[in-house]
């Protein structure tokens, strides 16, 4: 007897509409369009909605807001030390409201809300890119959620909660280089993302939107494939969300699945 089932007069009855899964003797019902169910170790993309004492509250696609503690976040100067009151006052300089943040689920609190941590270089504030929302069940848990697409120089982060980030590539730096980092950052702030990269970002984002509207599970390969198909068919970026390309993509996928089935037989 697991999730989505109940015992009625000695019989196990499903309470939800979905697929019955069995693990050894455990029987549970998995719904097809479930809400996001967080697990420890998930990569999450969220938006800051509030700054509370010593923590930030993020909105992720969940029934409750997630909490990112100040101590679970790297300080800008990279030194490992106790967070002081001054640090608390300067929280705003790290993240502000409406910033997009990437973090990892550390655990649950007693009231069920999520506890996040962003201690690695890969986590943190995301800039120069697009955030899109897709239904959470279209993002399956895989080995890798951070993808760096070299041919486009673009970072693609598939958050398990259904928030997808497509943005300019950020070079992950070691803590030792932080001094030069600061100088570079101020220099970079003046330069803008090159136009080609921006086009790629838009194309990939549209590909992701398209696939989510069609209800296909989102994987990096599929997104890249769709984007390349759009380039080869000379579809304009803004036309990608038009009816023609939709049909084309759907047909392509149907063909691919047919081939796969044929190969299996």
């Amino acid at each position: 007897r697991g999730h989505g089932t109940t015992d009625q007069d000695g019989e196990v009855v499903a309470t939800l509409c979905g697929v019955v899964e069995r693990v050894n003797k455990l029987v549970y019902v998995r719904t097809l369009r479930a809400r996001y169910k967080p697990e420890v170790g998930d990569i999450i993309v969220g938006r800051v909605i509030e700054i509370a004492p010593k923590r930030w509250r993020l909105e992720i696609n969940f029934s409750q807001d997630a909490v990112l503690m100040l101590s679970s976040m790297n300080l800008p100067d990279g030194i490992q030390r106790r967070r002081t009151a001054v640090d608390e006052l300067n929280m705003r300089s790290i993240f502000e409201e409406n910033d997009v943040v990437c973090a990892e689920v550390r655990g649950f609190q007693h009231d069920g809300s999520l506890h996040l941590q962003a201690r690695s270089q890969k986590y943190g504030k995301l800039q120069r890119g697009q955030l899109l929302t897709v239904p959470a069940y279209l993002v399956k848990r895989r080995k890798l959620h951070f993808h760096h697409l070299e041919q486009y120089d673009v970072d693609l982060i598939l958050g398990c909660n259904g928030f997808i980030w497509v943005g300019e590539h950020v070079v992950v730096r070691e803590i030792a280089d932080l001094k030069e980092d600061e100088q570079k950052l101020s220099a970079e702030a003046e330069t803008f993302t090159p136009i080609e990269t921006r086009r790629h970002i838009c194309r990939l984002a549209n590909a992701a939107r398209l696939l989510s509207a069609l209800g296909f599970t989102l994987t990096v390969e599929l997104i890249i494939q769709t984007a390349e198909a759009s380039v080869s068919s000379n579809v304009e970026i803004n036309d990608m969300l038009g009816a023609e390309f939709y049909v084309q993509t759907a047909e392509g996928e149907a063909k691919r699945r047919g081939d796969l089935l044929g190969k299996k037989r």
Binding site: H3, D7, K143, H145
Partner: protein
């Protein structure tokens, strides 16, 4: 063992101690730890260590070992557990291999890592000399590979040939053989002079070593020979008549005198005759490459005992005659003549012959630069092998724990804790919760619904098997239901042990089950959960009271973990059951915060 307090003097009462298992002498490492306290830093210049000798003075050798002996070597106690693997797989950031690299067992390998990297870069930077083929495109690599393979086959085949009893018949004196030359290159034609005997276990063979010039470089003629120093010049000094052996000119090459088996020359014996250098040397079995069809007549005595120049000259001439066109006379066919029957050997023999054919078709075969290219290839191959070896050592594959890690990953995949992409599944997540009690057994127990039919009291009694830590407790008397549950749990453990063994994790199923499940306190906990007073349950077993209390306190922790697992699984019945069980055992003296003050 050591007290963290500075002291001026340290006094050893005895040099023996009880370490929980036996009464033994102090180890040098322990002595260093304890005696090192003597002398406060900054306050004392000298620290004093005194050993009290009450009954007798210890032996000098014992003392010496204690004072200057080597302390125990640091050894890594790193144990790779399933919990660790599952936790690490959950996080995208970390790789299990990185964790393995940081353990002490890998300390030495990792310490050398920067040096190895530098060496690797150096080696990669060395320019590889390209072998230039004068005949067009270099096919030296294939040739060299074939050559190596052919060598391998040849060695096997010759060994096999030598062991055949038919070979012995053929290897009589006078048989022509092809012998491997010392310079590892071309092979030399020779004739067997003498078979191995009791005194000399090798074949004595006379080989042609090529032109006179080559022998001019080897002036190591035996000083025992009666000939003068003029022999190396390639002409003959005819000793004056008086000194000439009487028989020299008049005897034919075949003698009637029987050989007495003595070898009067020092081997290897080199010389010149008829424009060709020759050498008499002792060869092993494996140096004989092939046995030729032809035979010549030789005079064993003349060659070895009397050392007559004419005999040598005649033998050499005969050999030269046999060597037609610079090629060797055809070899005995292993299958037809020597009657090689073993399938393996025959296969190899054919393979060897095929390779030889292929090699002769190859461009490189008759090439003059062959020798040079071969040696260059050899160097290159050595270089490549070293490079590969270095890369392997630096890679993940060389970690000591790697095979065990692979085995454990396979086990986890088979029982569906992780999927083939190493993404943690539901069962794996439940296993991560289990900290007290063996993770695999507990998770299987939960997913098999083994605690379903049991009442909360019975369930918690069975769970005590995970936390109880004493082996030789008295056997409890159980109700049939409890006995069934116990058997089921034990069987699960055995099957898990066998599964691990199949995947090469070093685990013995029986031991595994016995180590991780100890059913000694099942009855006690059952009674306690039902509400029996503490005094009564102590009667049921011979385990000490303190251990019972400790076990039940740890059991509460286990109940909490099972409860969390139930909420992950979605099994609400189990959740409630664990709550009830937890409350049932949390009472009275076992959970009293203090034995001396009530009400807290």
């Amino acid at each position: 063992m050591g007290v963290n307090a500075p002291a001026r003097t340290v006094v050893f009462d005895t040099l023996r101690k009880f370490d929980g298992k036996e009464h033994r002498r102090l180890l040098p490492g322990e002595y260093i730890q304890m005696a090192g306290r003597a002398g406060r830093r900054g306050l004392d210049t000298i620290g004093t260590v005194i050993m009290m000798c009450r009954d007798e003075i210890p032996e000098e050798s014992d003392l010496k070992n204690l004072l200057v002996g080597k302390p125990t070597r640091l050894e890594s106690q790193f144990r790779l557990t399933y919990t660790m693997i599952l936790h690490l797989l959950r996080v995208e950031e970390l790789k299990v291999e990185d964790m393995l690299k940081r353990s002490f067992a890998e300390f030495h390998a990792q310490k050398d890592l920067p040096q190895k990297e530098k060496l690797l870069l150096q080696m990669l930077r060395q320019p590889t000399k390209t072998i230039e083929c004068i005949k067009g495109e270099p096919s030296i690599e294939e040739y060299y590979d074939m050559f190596l393979e052919a060598e391998e086959h040849r060695e096997f085949v010759t060994e096999a040939i030598m062991q055949l009893h038919t070979t012995q018949q053929f290897l009589a004196p006078g048989r022509l053989v092809v012998v491997k030359s010392k310079s590892d290159d071309d092979h030399l034609l020779g004739v067997i002079v003498k078979n191995p005997s009791a005194t000399l276990k090798q074949y004595v063979v006379l080989v042609l070593t090529g032109d006179c010039t080559s022998s001019a470089l080897a002036p190591n003629l035996s000083s025992q020979s009666e000939k003068g120093p003029g022999d190396s010049q390639g002409y003959f000094i005819i000793p004056p008549k008086g000194k000439r052996g009487m028989d020299d000119d008049f005897f034919s090459s075949s003698r009637t005198r029987k050989s007495s088996g003595v070898i009067n020359i020092k081997l290897p014996y080199m010389g010149d005759a008829s424009g060709m250098g020759f050498e008499v040397r002792a060869v092993e079995n494996k140096e004989i490459i092939s046995i030729c069809i032809s035979k010549i007549k030789i005079d064993q005595v003349g060659l070895l005992e009397d050392i007559s120049k004419t005999v040598y000259a005649k033998t050499v001439q005969m050999l030269i005659k046999e060597q037609t066109d610079g090629k060797y006379p055809p070899a005995l066919d292993a299958i037809k003549d020597l009657k090689m029957k073993d399938m393996d050997q025959v296969k190899r023999y054919h393979a060897h012959n095929n390779l030889l054919e292929e090699m002769s078709k190859n461009k490189c075969h008759g090439c003059i630069k062959l020798k040079e290219h071969k040696s260059m290839m050899k160097d290159q191959k050595m270089h490549k092998d070293e490079l590969d070896q270095l890369k392997y050592q630096m890679s993940d594959e060389a970690l000591q724990q790697m095979p065990q890690f692979q085995g454990r990953i396979d086990v986890l995949k088979e029982i569906h804790y992780i999927d083939s992409d190493l993404v943690v599944q539901l069962k794996g997540r439940v296993a991560c919760e289990m900290n007290s009690g063996e993770e695999l057994i507990s998770t299987e127990c939960l997913f098999e619904n083994q605690l379903d039919e049991l009442e909360p009291e019975e369930a918690v009694a069975i769970m005590s098997a995970f936390v109880f830590q004493q082996r030789n407790a008295s056997e409890p008397s159980l109700t049939p239901k409890l006995a069934d549950a116990k058997k089921r749990l034990y069987d699960t453990a055995i099957s898990l042990g066998q599964l691990q063994k199949r995947h090469e994790v070093p685990v013995d199923p029986e031991e595994y089950a016995r180590d991780n499940l100890k059913f000694g306190l099942v009855e006690v906990v059952y009674e306690w959960a039902k509400g029996t007073p503490f005094a009564d349950i102590c009667e049921l077993t011979d385990v000490s009271e303190g251990l019972i209390v400790r076990t039940i306190v740890r059991l509460d922790e286990t109940c909490r973990e099972f409860r969390n697992a139930a909420s992950i699984m979605g099994n609400s019945a189990l959740y409630k059951k664990m709550e009830i069980a937890s409350n049932a055992i949390k009472r009275d003296i076992v959970f009293a915060a203090s034995l001396y003050v009530t009400g807290i």
